[in-house]
Symmetry: C3
Subunit: 324 residues, 3 copies
C-alpha cells in the first residue's frame, strides 16, 4: 500500500540528469520524489517553507530542493540543490520521473468487470473497472461508475452511480454517493504566460474505514503527498477538497464546504455548510466552524469559530451587535 503504483515511473536519475543548477555532484542515482518525512536515501525531497523546518532537520532524503536561506536546516547527509523557485524545480523533476501524472489521461484499461475475478462484489449496469483493481467482498458498485486501474476498495462498501474513482485507496464500510469524483489531479501549476506548467500529481486519495462522501463531491489526490480522510468522517454533498488535505476521524463536513490545498484537520471537527478553509492551515481537534465562515488562520483545539474571516464565536457575535 505504501508503494505508488498508479503512475509509470522513469529513472533512476543522477543529479546531473535532473538539474541544470549547480550542486555537489554525486554518483548516486535517485529513484523517486517524496515529502521530507517519507523520503529515503535514494529519494529527492523539497523544502520551501520555514514551517516545515522540523521535518527538514530529520529528513533521510539523499537530496533536497531548497533555497539558500533554508539549506541550513538540512542534515549533512542530504545534498541541497539550491534554486530560486522550489516548486517550479520540483514540478520539473517530478515530471521527469512521472511524465504522465500532470494530466488525467483517461484510463484505457477500463473493461466490464469479470465476474470470475469479483465473485463477491455486486455491480450495477455499465460499470467500468481498470486493470489491477481490488474490491473487497460484499461491496456494491452502482451503474455507470468508473474505477480506474490499481484502485483498491475495501469490503462492505456502497459506491453509488456515475462516480469516478482513480489513484485512491479506499477502506472498509465506506459509502460514496452518486456523482462524486475521487482522486483527480488537483489545481496545481506554475503560472506561465501562454502555457502554465502543470504540477504532476503523484499522490493519492486515502479514505479510511467508515468514511461517507456525499453526492457530487470532488476530492483531489495529493501532489507529492496524499489527501487523507480519517475514519468515520462524513462529508455532505458538493464538498470540494483540494490536494494534500488531511482530515482526522469523526469529523462532520456539511454541504458545499471548500478546502484549499494542504491543510490539516484534527479529529471531531465539525464544519457548517459553505465554509471555506484556506491552504496550509492547521485546524485542531474538536473545533467547530460555523456555516459560511472563511478560515484563514490556524485554529487551536476545542475552538468555536465563525465569520469571514473566521474569529472566535464570541467575537463574531459582538461584532454583529456593534454595528446594529
Amino acid at each position: 500500500m505504501s508503494e505508488n503504483n498508479f503512475f509509470e515511473r522513469k529513472g533512476p536519475f543522477s543529479l546531473k540528469e535532473l538539474f541544470n543548477v549547480k550542486s555537489k555532484e554525486k554518483k548516486i542515482k535517485f529513484v523517486d520524489v517524496k515529502i521530507l518525512s517519507s523520503a529515503k536515501k535514494n529519494d529527492i525531497t523539497f523544502f520551501d517553507s520555514i514551517n516545515y523546518k522540523d521535518f527538514a532537520s530529520n529528513t533521510k532524503a539523499g537530496c533536497c530542493i531548497t533555497t539558500d536561506k533554508l539549506k541550513a536546516y538540512l542534515p549533512t547527509r542530504c545534498t541541497p540543490v539550491l534554486v530560486k523557485n522550489v516548486l517550479f524545480e520540483l514540478a520539473k523533476i517530478t515530471k521527469k520521473f512521472y511524465p504522465l501524472a500532470d494530466v488525467d489521461y483517461p484510463d484505457t484499461t477500463l473493461r466490464k468487470p469479470k465476474t470470475s475475478k469479483y465473485s463477491n462484489v455486486k455491480f450495477g449496469n455499465n460499470v467500468l473497472i481498470g486493470k489491477n483493481v481490488k474490491i473487497g467482498k460484499n461491496t456494491v458498485i452502482g451503474s455507470n461508475t468508473i474505477v480506474e486501474h490499481n484502485v483498491s476498495v475495501g469490503k462492505n462498501c456502497v459506491i453509488g452511480s456515475q462516480i469516478v474513482i482513480k489513484n485512491s485507496i479506499i477502506g472498509d464500510d465506506v459509502v460514496i454517493q452518486d456523482g462524486a469524483k475521487i482522486g483527480l489531479k488537483g489545481f496545481g501549476f506554475i503560472p506561465l504566460k501562454g502555457k502554465n506548467f502543470r504540477f504532476p500529481h503523484i499522490g493519492r486519495v486515502i479514505l479510511k474505514n467508515n468514511v461517507e462522501i456525499g453526492s457530487s463531491c470532488t476530492i483531489d489526490r495529493g501532489s507529492v503527498d496524499d489527501t487523507i480522510i480519517g475514519e468515520n468522517t462524513f462529508l455532505d454533498n458538493q464538498v470540494h477538497m483540494a490536494h494534500n488535505v488531511k482530515v482526522g476521524k469523526n469529523c462532520m463536513i456539511a454541504g458545499q464546504v471548500g478546502f484549499a490545498g494542504s491543510s490539516t484537520l484534527g479529529d471531531n471537527v465539525s464544519i457548517g455548510g459553505q465554509a471555506g478553509i484556506s491552504g496550509h492551515l492547521k485546524i485542531g481537534n474538536n473545533v467547530k466552524i460555523g456555516g459560511g465562515s472563511g478560515v484563514v488562520k490556524d485554529i487551536e483545539d476545542n475552538s468555536v469559530v465563525m465569520g469571514y474571516p473566521a474569529v472566535p464565536l464570541k467575537e463574531f457575535l459582538k461584532k454583529g451587535q456593534k454595528v446594529e
Copy 2:
C-alpha cells in the same frame, strides 16, 4: 401517491418490540413512522422541539417519541414514549421499520427501458430505468440517465443526460438539466465515535409542475417528511438542497445556493447566487435574499435581506458605510 413504496417496510411492531424504554404497554401494533401532522392511530410519530407544539396537540398518532418536558402538549389518545434523545430513538425504530433506507444501495432492478411500456417517451442512449417507474407521454430522457424503481415522472418533461433520480415524484413540464442528482439520502446521522448511526431516509423528493432544476444540483429526499419544490420554481446550477426543505411556487434560486435541512420557503422568493439558508427556518412569501447572504433567522413576508448574517437591506448598506 401518498403511500411510501420506495422502501421495503417491516412490521407491524408492538411498543415492546420497538423500545427499551418504559411506556404504557398496549396491544396495538404500529405499522409506520410519520410526522406529527400525517401520523394516524397505527403510526408512531416524534416531537422534539417546542416549535412544533401546535402540530403535537393535534396529532392523531397512536404513539409519540418525545421528552418529559414536551409530553404535556400531546393529546391523551397518543401514548408518549419518553426518551433523552428523540432523534436517536426515532432513527433506531425507523431502521427497524425500514432496514434498507439508511444507505443508497444501488438499484438492482435497472434495465434498458422497454419501448412497449413507454411507447410515448423518447429515450437517449444507455438510459436505465428501474421497476415500476411511471413516465408520462412526450417526456424525453437523455443519455446515461438513471431513473430508479417506483419513481414517477409526469408528461412533457425534459430530463437531461447523466442524471440520477430516485425516491421522487415528478410533475408535468418539469425540466432537469444534465448531471443533477435527485432524491438521494440526506446528511442525517447520530454522531457516534467510530461509527455514526445513519438516519434512515424514508421521505421523497416532490417536484411540482413546471419546475426547473439546473445542472449538477443535488436535491436530497426527506428523512421522515418530504422535500418539496413548488410549481414554476426554477433552480440554477449547483444548488444543494438538503432533506425536508419545502420551497413554494414561482421562486428563483440562483447558482450554488445551499439549503441546510428542514427550512420552509414561501412563494415568489428570490435568492441570489451562493447564498446559504440555515436549517429549520421559515422564510415568508415575496422575500428577496441577496447573493452571498447567510440566512440564520426566520424572515417575514415581503422582506429584502442581505449580508452574512443576513439583515434587512437598509441595515446592510448602513453597515458598509459605517466602516468605510
Copy 3:
C-alpha cells in the same frame, strides 16, 4: 466558426410577422438575432441599458428592440422597435427564430463514434458523439462522455469521463476534467406567475487554446452572445460560470467560484476559492480577488480586493481591525 449552426433557425421574418408593436413598416425580411456589435443589416438587435450606448450608436443592425428613452442613441439606418420590456420582447422573437433553443432537448443524433471518421482520436468506453462533431488529432475522450452535435474540439485535448459538451467550440490543448458540463442553457427567463418564459439560449461556449476546466464545473452557453474563456486560463473544480461571461487570458479561478451572467474579466486575473462575481461587471487586467469575496462593482486594472462586498485589500484589513 462565426455561423451559429447549433440550433435550427426559422425565418426570415418581416417586422410585421415578428412584433405586435408599432414600427415603421419595411419590406425588409430579418434573418437572425444578434448583439449590437455583430448585427448586420438583416439582423435584429436589442439595446436595454445606457451602458451599451457606444455599441448602440455604431450598430449596423437593421432593427433594434429598445425603449423610448434609449432610441436616440441608435443610428438612423436602424429601425427602433419601442417596447416596455426589451428582454421579454427579445425572448419572444428569439423563440420565433429558434423554437428549440429554450430548453436543452437531449441530442437524438448521439452514436458510438465511427473509428473511420475519427482515426486519430482515442475514445474511452461508451462515448457518445453527435452529428457533425469535429475532433482534432491526438485528442483523447474519456468513458461515458457525451459530445453533442456540431461541437468542435481541437487537437491534443484531454477530455475526461462523464462529461457533457454541447453548443461549444473548443480550442487546442484544452483539458476538461471528469464530470464537467459545458454549453448548457443558462438561467435566463422572464418570470411569469405559473409559467416562466424561458429565454432561448442561442449563444455558445468558446474555450480558447490551453484552457483547463476542473471537475464538475458548469459553464453555461451564452444567451444571444457567447460565453468565452481565454487562452491558458485554468478553472479549479466546481466553478459555476453563467451565460455570456467573458474571461481573459492566463487567469486562475479557484474552486467553487461563481459567476452571475454577462461579466467581463481581463487578463491575468486570479480569483480565490468560493468568491462570487455579480452580473454585468467589468473586472480589469491583473486583478486579484480574495477567496470568499463577493464582487458587486467594477474593478480597475491591477487592483487587489477582498471581502463581502469586496473592497480594496487595505480597506478590508482596516475593517477587521476597527471591529476587534
